[in-house]
Structure formats: C-alpha cells, structure tokens
Symmetry: C2
Subunit: 256 residues, 2 copies
Amino acid sequence: MSKIIAIANQKGGVGKTTTTINLGASLGVLEFKTLIIDADPQANATSGTGLNRKDNKLSLYDCFINETGITKTIQSTSVPNLDIVPSHLDLVGAEVEIINTPNREKILKGAIQVIREKYKFILIDCAPSLGLITVNALTAADSVIIPVQCEYFALEGLGKLLQTIKIIQARLNPSLTIEGFLLTMYDSRLNLANQVVEEVKKHFQDMVFSTIIHRNVKLGEAPSYGEAAIIYDVNSTGAINYLNLARELLQKHGMT
Amino acid sequence: MSKIIAIANQKGGVGKTTTTINLGASLGVLEFKTLIIDADPQANATSGTGLNRKDNKLSLYDCFINETGITKTIQSTSVPNLDIVPSHLDLVGAEVEIINTPNREKILKGAIQVIREKYKFILIDCAPSLGLITVNALTAADSVIIPVQCEYFALEGLGKLLQTIKIIQARLNPSLTIEGFLLTMYDSRLNLANQVVEEVKKHFQDMVFSTIIHRNVKLGEAPSYGEAAIIYDVNSTGAINYLNLARELLQKHGMT
Ligand SMILES: Nc1ncnc2c1ncn2[C@@H]1O[C@H](COP(=O)(O)OP(=O)(O)OP(=O)(O)O)[C@@H](O)[C@H]1O
Ligand SMILES: Nc1ncnc2c1ncn2[C@@H]1O[C@H](COP(=O)(O)OP(=O)(O)OP(=O)(O)O)[C@@H](O)[C@H]1O
Ligand SMILES: [Mg+2]
Ligand SMILES: [Mg+2]
C-alpha cells in the first residue's frame, strides 16, 4: 500500500518542487518505487526531472478534464524507481473548468486509486495556492510535508495553511495528517535563518523534521540539467540533505 | 495623473512583494506620493509595511465583494508619502465569489479611478498566480514590472506570463506595456546567477532594468520589523538597489 504525501505551502518559492524532486529521487535510489505527481501548472517538477513541458503527451490536466486514466500519463525519469505524472500549462484553466463538477475536490483521489498498489510513495507537488487543485491534492493525500523557507514571510503564511488543512480534515479527508515541517534554504551564518529555525521548532516541536535542507547552489543548478541533485552531484550538501530526509521519513514509518 | 504598475510573476518567491514595498518606499522618500495595493491574500505587503494583517479594518476584499469605495480602505505607512490598501486572507475566496460578476476582470480598474488623481504611482503586488485577481491587476495597470529571480525555474515561467500579458492586451487592456524585467536576488559569486542575467539580457535586451537587486539579508530582515529596507537600514545594499531602481524608473519617464 503506498503512502501519498502532498508537498504544499501557498507561500511561493519555499522549496516545494525542489523537495518533491529530490525526496522522490532519494526514495527511488533507496529502491522504493516512487511516483511524482506534478500538480502545478508551472510544471517545474516536470522539467526538473528532465521531461519537456511542451510535449504533447498526456498530463495531469487530462486526468482532471478528459477523465484519462492516470496510468496513461505516467512517464519514467532518469532516476531508477522514479516515475512522474507530468503537468501542463493548461492545468491553470482546470480549476475553473471543474468548478461545477460533482465531487470536484475528490477527482485526484479517485484517479490515484488504480495505481496505489504500484508505488510505495506518491509525492504530489503543489502550486503556491490553496485553490481547487491543491485542495484535490490534500484530499487525496495521507499526509502533507510543509516546506518552510528560513525567511520571515514564510512564517506568516503557516497559520492560513494549517487552517486550510483543518478544514480539509473536517470536510474532505479526516485521515490527513501532517507528515512534518521541513526547514529549507537554511544558511547558518544568518541570524534571520537561525531565528526562523528556533521559532518553528518552538511552535511545532516534534512535528519538525530533524533534517534541515541547507542553501546549496547545486540544488539550483541541477534542474537546469533536468536532473535531481543526487544524479547531478551526489556529494553535494543538497543531495546529502535530501537523502537524509528520505532516511528519516523511512525510519519514522519503520520502512528501513 | 498617476502611473499604475502591477508587480507580477506567477513563479513564487521571486521578490514581487519585496519589490513593491521597497520601490514604493523609495518613491515615497523621493517625495512622489505612492499607493501600494496588496492584491495577494497572503498579505505580505500589508505586514511588511507594518500593518497588522488580522485587523478588522477594511481591505481590498471589501472593494471586490462589498463594493466598498477604495478610499475607505487606504491606510498610511511609516514611510512618508506612502499609503497602502491592505489585503486580507479572505481575498483567497474572492476569485470564486466574483466568477459570475459582469465585467469581473475590470472590478479593480473601476475601483481605482476615484483615487488616480491623488497618487503619482500606484503599485499593485500580485499573488504567485494568474488567476482572476491578478488578471484584475493587469487590466487596471498601465504597465507591469516582472521580477525575475536569478534561478533556473524563474526563467521557465516567463513564456507563460508573456502569453497571459498578450491575451490581456488583446482582450482587456490594450494599453498595457511591460515596464521592465527586474533581476532579483543576484549573487555575483554564483555561475547560475550570472547565466540567468546573461540569458535575460540576451532575450529581453533594453526591456531589462539596468538596476539589478542583489541578494541582501537586510531585505529579508526588514519585513519582520514591518519596515521597508530604506527605513530599516538605509545604507544596506538592498535599500540602495531599490533607491536606484526608483531613480531609473523616474528618469525613464522624465520625472526626475
Ligand atoms: N536548498 C536550496 N538551496 C538553494 N536553492 C534552492 C534550494 N531549494 C530551492 N532552491 C531554489 O530556489 C528556487 C525556489 O525553489 P522551488 O522552485 O523548489 O520552490 P517552490 O516552493 O516549488 O516554488 P513555487 O511556489 O513557485 O512552486 C528554485 O529556483 C530552486 O532551484
Ligand atoms: N534581494 C533579496 N535578497 C535577500 N532576500 C530577499 C531578496 N528579495 C526577497 N527576499 C526574500 O526572499 C523571500 C521571497 O521574496 P518575496 O516574498 O518578496 O517574493 P514574492 O515573489 O513576493 O513571493 P510570493 O510568490 O509568495 O508572493 C522573502 O522572504 C524575502 O524577504
Ligand atoms: Mg514549485
Ligand atoms: Mg509576495
């Protein structure tokens, strides 16, 4: 039975896509069959894993709008044991197109059922929004990883995100849990970063992953080659941080 | 007659809010009466200028939903000549609420007319999305500043943004122009950053502001005090960069 994890935070640029790609790649390298679902119309996870965004191939858009079976959209990546359901720019229109569909929040949950058995982990990369596609992701997910950039504005948005998660738990997905808060782009030389780490650990205590993702230029360079950091530069701090995150996640669920 | 400029890019975390606050503050300090409109439900521009987001005061939400006159929502900031129309978390629901309103894309344009004469500049901070509120901002604006973070993913999204701007120009706002592309979070020590700068300058040539905003921790610290960088630390690189940007903008329009 697979574990479905949404990677979500409506604050932009906090490391959602970078976390999805690199946690997914780490799980793949550790031989856990993993699927990334790119639920962001920007399709950064799609291009960051080496696929061409403008390809005419099927994407998540087709699952929402044309009721295409999700299996048909799945493509392999350059990482062993890692597949992806690509996104497409048209997904930005899907939110309006499904507004009057019955059970519009549960479309993704329904679509994923047929492939749950094939993967150990399914990671859903969300857009920087709390719109209908992200609601679909949180409704389909067993848990959610919340990347928190070590910046001031990133702290501010957490209240609203937790409020939305509570609403989803109450109305759409009672079993949704918070997998953890993941501190990202940490630079130990900056007071601001250290203050944010302290604040998040004080508020959320053992819900905060002990693995912290440091600011590391290799994590920024890797997607321009369509690669995960573990493929682009296996010895980089970024690759090592995400490998540690994968191990921490596996340990937590007794899967190592 | 005021100049209305939208600060937009659907890519998250590229420096939209930081640009709105600090360009606004620089114009205010140079004695050009300026208004910030916070069109992002995250309300980062609201808190970054020292207002309390959870206040019960009127916000942009009321202009969209309750047809409240925008004048009633305007609050002053700690910066001379700088006012703000605050945002509110409820704005996230406004996009669905106005879906069936006639001329739903022109609500903000209509609301702004009554105050155009009072300000030299009106800056609209957009959310990381191309939804209806951002479309309202682009329809109301004379021009748009596009912050481009010196990272790979930031380049990818530009095509979609330019496509959306063309559609807005064709259907809703023929006089919309691109004020310029603003390179942000530039770190001259990183190859990646230098490559992005080169790429953007090659593609967009004289549409790129010559002022480049360098990565500077003071720009990240200032909002936690509710201040613009020019107030928080006037000698910081960030404050100087944005003051130069304001001067470049004024020179371009013969207003110095
Ligand atoms: N730890 C890190 N060190 C250095 N750069 C990073 C790190 N994590 C992410 N980045 C870079 O920062 C930028 C923002 O990260 P990313 O795109 O993953 O965030 P996001 O939350 O997915 O953004 P969006 O809200 O637009 O979806 C990207 O250019 C990415 O390459
Ligand atoms: N030049 C800079 N140097 C250092 N930090 C910066 C700089 N510009 C912005 N930041 C910080 O980076 C983060 C992202 O910037 P900001 O919030 O302004 O981006 P945004 O595009 O408005 O994000 P969103 O898409 O969520 O609205 C913030 O925490 C901000 O303080
Ligand atoms: Mg992303
Ligand atoms: Mg912002």
